[in-house]
């Protein structure tokens, strides 16, 4: 006979191990389940301890209701739960967990110890190893439950192999902890990693307080409280001002009825709330709590409850949009931004004007509200200095610099319709500025609108990349090294590319925790503040690493981000600087778009103008 092929019911241990595959992906998922249980037990204080990236130990101790001996024994059985009794209860679950799978699954793949007591003194202790009950005994214990999960996946080598490096697992554990800490600001929570205290968060009545504790005061200063309630949907929390945007959605925290989750619907609503405030590739930081009747939410969609569905999507969407609009539109939204470059307008026009201040850099309104130079005073002088500053270097002479590069530039230009000239210009002059941002240039066969920020980014980017290729990036040391505290995600990314950053002229080193010291900057960005650049770089390095896979791609991504950050901080340029920019842009290899692909120049030919005026 061959191997036994009869169908049989699997023993519980095996079934639990299979279930563990869904629930327990890595130490961070254990942590999530244990904290949720503690919260459901009514804990006001939760202490978490992890060791060796969670492989050795994930322990959660709470001061919640605890369990008696019978419940303790039951709770590690599969589909044993105190949270629902029959299928109708699922409709109205208010607790975080309800399926009753978690503890059984975790106990099946670890050395598991649970101590619980319903009041101080007499408690129960369970020890389970790989799903087999090893010991049950009476023990002295304070009220609450304490769970220790040791040697995770010790009996599932296949899973163990999929665990990532120590650092990565710690990162995931921290992320899981932060998520839970944000979800339950009223609960005091502490995290210890390898014996070192990382967070000790006191109970807070507002999520802002908790955000400040976790991400720091600098970070929290960019957030505005959001609150909106209507039609059975309440939204509260805080949202970031548009100028404090991110390159990805990593800092969008959503909670539905206290449960950290995602919902495509809310993502769209956030997008919509910021639609006119942020370019498509930027994402706001948000911490939003959506409260609605549990009956209106279907959380049983995803085994790890990572996604929910709403019965009344329209209402939820409107409430989120309204909350964001209220948060950003209120006068408080504008008041907090640190540098107000222009003199504060008087109280009478404060309302609408202040909103503009919160628009991100690089978009229209931040550019000088004052003219580049008093045009009335210098009108006559404009052509003069221009000839001197050497437009001839841009190509009045026969062998002009831009001509050789132009065929190539024309080919790669994304929208040839709007950018038709084969070379930028052989001569031009600055006529003025429109819309508080765009520079108007006249050339030999038409007029050009230039976005000076985009143009500057391009010039800076090409110069910077040339120096990186030549391996000679001049780096300017700082008098006072700046310490920059980053959110955990960004910190992790910066840590991963320290070598790259050093090669590119950033003097960055670790300072412990999520703080870095910057003691030198590439000379091109020497005027700029290190802190915003560093955050920008982190996201860029990550993205570059993923898309390109080799050094050049990463360098380009970092250079792009650095240029953007550096240019953003310039919101006043003199006419001479504009003129120099025009010359330099004309000499760039690819003058028509900024490194991020936005156009720098929009050309309209005189022929086109004549056509529009009906002159043939």
């Amino acid at each position: 006979m061959g191997p036994d092929t009869h169908i049989r019911v699997l023993p519980d241990v095996v079934a639990n191990q299979i279930a563990a595959g869904e629930v327990v992906e890595r130490p961070a998922s254990v942590l999530k389940e244990l904290i949720e249980n503690a919260v459901d037990a009514g804990a006001t204080r939760i202490e978490v301890e992890v060791a060796a990236g969670g492989r050795k130990l994930v322990a959660v101790r709470d001061n919640g209701g605890g369990m008696d001996r019978d419940d303790a024994l039951l709770c590690v059985e599969r589909h044993a739960t105190s949270k629902i009794r029959d299928v109708r209860d699922i409709e109205a679950v208010r607790t975080l967990g309800f399926r009753g799978e978690a503890l059984a699954a975790i106990a099946a793949v670890s050395r598991f110890r649970l101590v619980t007591a319903t009041r101080d003194g007499a408690g129960t202790e369970l020890e389970i190893s790989g799903g087999r009950m090893e010991a049950v005994r009476e023990t002295g214990a304070p009220r609450g439950t304490s769970v220790e999960v040791r040697d995770l996946f010790f009996n599932v080598p296949a899973r163990r192999k999929f665990l990532r490096s120590h650092q990565t697992e710690v990162f995931h554990l921290r992320a899981a902890f932060i998520l839970q800490a944000l979800a339950h600001p009223g609960t005091a929570m502490a995290l210890k990693n390898d014996g070192r205290a990382i967070y000790a968060l006191g109970p807070a009545d507002d999520v802002m307080v908790r955000v400040r504790e976790i991400f720091g005061a600098d970070y929290a200063a960019h957030l505005r409280p959001a609150r909106h309630g209507a039609a059975g949907v309440a939204v509260r929390g805080c949202v970031g001002v548009p100028s404090f945007s991110r390159a990805d959605r990593g800092e969008q925290y959503l909670f539905v009825n206290g449960r950290p989750t995602g919902a495509p619907l809310i993502g769209h609503a956030i997008r919509e709330g910021y639609r006119t405030l942020l370019p498509g590739d930027r994402h706001p930081c948000v911490f939003l709590f959506v409260e609605t009747d549990p009956g209106q939410v279907d959380i049983n969609v995803h085994p790890a409850k990572k996604e929910v569905r709403f019965r009344q999507p329209g209402e939820v969407r409107d409430a989120v949009i309204a909350a964001i609009a209220a948060a950003l539109g209120s006068p408080a939204a504008a008041a907090g931004r640190a540098p107000a470059p222009a003199p504060a307008p008087p109280a009478a026009d404060a309302g609408p004007r202040l909103q503009i201040v919160d628009l991100p850099y690089g978009r229209a309104f931040q550019y000088p509200r004052r003219p580049i130079r008093d045009l009335a005073a210098t009108d006559a002088a404009v052509p003069g200095p221009f000839e001197e500053t050497g437009i001839e270097s841009a190509g009045t002479g026969p062998a002009a610099a831009p001509s050789p590069s132009s065929p190539d530039a024309g080919r790669t230009s994304p929208s040839p319709a709007s950018i038709s000239p084969p070379s930028p210009w052989s001569w031009c002059r600055v006529l003025g500025q429109v819309g508080g941002l765009y520079v108007v240039l006249e050339t030999e066969d038409g007029y050009v609108l230039m976005d000076p920020h985009a143009g500057h980014e391009r010039v800076l980017f090409e110069r910077f990349m040339a120096d990186i290729d030549g391996e000679a990036v001049p780096s300017q040391s700082l008098l006072l090294p700046q310490t920059v505290a980053l959110p955990p995600r960004d910190a992790q990314r910066v840590r991963g590319c320290l070598d790259l950053l050093r090669r590119m002229g950033f003097g960055v080193s670790e300072f412990g925790g999520d703080t870095f010291v910057v003691d030198a900057m590439p000379a091109y960005f020497s005027g700029a503040d290190a802190a915003p650049i560093l955050g920008e770089l982190a996201a860029a390095a990550e993205e570059g690493g993923r898309s390109a896979g080799e050094g050049r791609g990463r360098e380009e991504a970092v250079a792009r981000a650095a240029c953007r950050a550096a240019v953003r901080s310039r919101d006043r340029l003199t006419l001479e600087e504009i003129e120099r920019l025009v010359v330099e842009l004309a000499q760039a290899a690819m003058p028509y778009t900024c490194p991020h692909g936005r156009p720098t120049l929009v050309f309209t030919s005189f022929r086109e103008l004549s056509r529009r005026f009906g002159r043939g």
């Binding site: 026009d349 005073a377 780096s475 040391s477 002229g505 000379a523 006043r572």
Partner: protein, 364 residues
């Protein structure tokens, strides 16, 4: 309001105040000058809400009163008028008629009620300084202030009245300029304020070489009174970095250099740098400093400046602009450069209490 005033007197007063007036502003009243006629004097006041300048001048006032008139336009008109007395009369609709010799102008003004009032600091203590001294101190530091608007607190100069001296400090995080002047500062009157760049420029424009300037501050505002002028400014809020921490200890090498020779050499070599961020190498070697620049697209330049130097060879790179800035504003014949190695900060000093710290560039 009605008064008569000599053309030169009015023009000089307008020149003193019109710098503050923004070319284009969100508030139309801010492009006007507030005119106030009192007994035997008129006062002129302009503001951009951050900095205000008030100047008074003698006039024969027939009828007291106040109005505001477009500052730049008024100054342009007055400049072109003949050198004769000017008679100005303003009706209750704030329309001014201006007569001088055979010229006649009618200028539409705005009510003085809308003009933001100039508020003086309430500080108890007044420091008295020589005007020329203050002007000199500001001139020797202001160029080092940051222009990056994200670094708000560095967009100006620190005035630190402490320890029986006034220290003026400006830095942009890459270099720092410090001038000190000994004066009496009672313990209870010790204070420090960060004065915005715009106010610094205004002071440099209006301070004269002689006479005394009185300084008063209450921590939010600061006022400078001198001659017939009052300049008030908001101060920049925030904590100025601890500049003492930046000043390096004794350096290994100290070199005396002729200021103008070094400046001229730097000016010449920086002509081959493509961008102002490019580095100039200073090599301290046997009895000379060799200043050189290299730029892959342009070429290279080298200058040798003779000095007395017998120490070890040291090469250090600086942003040439950063070295030239203090050399331009100092007036002494010789300066001292202190260096230790290619990574430590360089220091420039001179006979007077001046100190300039600059960070080297690392050229990889």
């Amino acid at each position: 309001m009605k008064f008569k005033i000599a053309k030169n007197v009015l023009f000089a007063a307008l020149q003193r105040v019109q710098n503050v007036v923004a070319a284009r502003t969100t508030l139309p009243i801010l492009s006007n000058v507030l005119l106030n006629a009192e007994k035997g004097r008129i006062s002129l006041c302009t503001t951009d809400l951050e900095v205000s300048v008030k100047c008074s001048a003698e006039a024969s006032v027939q009828k007291q009163g106040a109005t505001t008139l477009p500052a730049r336009r008024l100054a342009s008109i007055v400049r072109e008028l003949p050198d004769k007395p000017i008679a100005i009369e303003v009706d209750d609709k704030n329309i001014a008629t201006l007569e001088c010799n055979s010229s006649y102008f009618k200028i539409i003004g705005m009510s003085e009620d809308e003009f933001p009032p100039m508020s003086m600091p309430e500080g108890q203590y007044t420091y008295a300084l020589d005007q020329g001294r203050l002007k000199d101190m500001l001139g020797k530091t202001v160029y080092a202030a940051s222009t990056d608007e994200t670094r708000h607190v560095l967009n100006g100069a620190l005035l630190n009245f402490k320890g029986n001296k006034l220290s003026v400090v400006a830095t942009d995080g890459r270099r720092l300029a410090l001038v000190e002047h000994e004066m009496e500062v009672p313990r209870e009157a010790e204070t420090e304020v960060v004065l915005p760049t715009k106010a610094l420029a205004e002071l440099m424009h209006t301070l004269s070489e002689q006479g005394t300037v009185k300084v008063r501050s209450d921590g939010n505002k600061i006022a400078f009174e001198f001659d017939d002028v009052i300049v008030t400014s908001k101060v920049i809020e925030g904590t100025y970095p601890n500049y003492r921490q930046v000043i390096p200890g004794p350096a290994e090498q100290r070199v005396t250099v002729e200021r103008e020779t070094l400046l001229a050499a730097l000016k010449r070599v920086s002509l081959v740098t493509t961008d102002k961020a490019n580095a100039a190498r200073l090599t301290f070697t046997n009895n000379s400093i060799v200043v050189s620049t290299t730029s892959p697209d342009v070429g290279e330049a080298r200058e040798t400046v003779p000095v007395k130097y017998t120490g070890k060879d040291i090469t250090v790179a600086f942003n040439p602009e950063y070295v030239m800035d203090p050399l331009r504003t100092l007036t002494c014949d010789e300066i001292y450069i202190e260096i230790t190695d290619d990574l430590s900060p360089g220091v420039i000093k001179c006979e007077t209490p001046f100190l300039y710290v600059l960070m080297p560039m690392r050229v990889t």
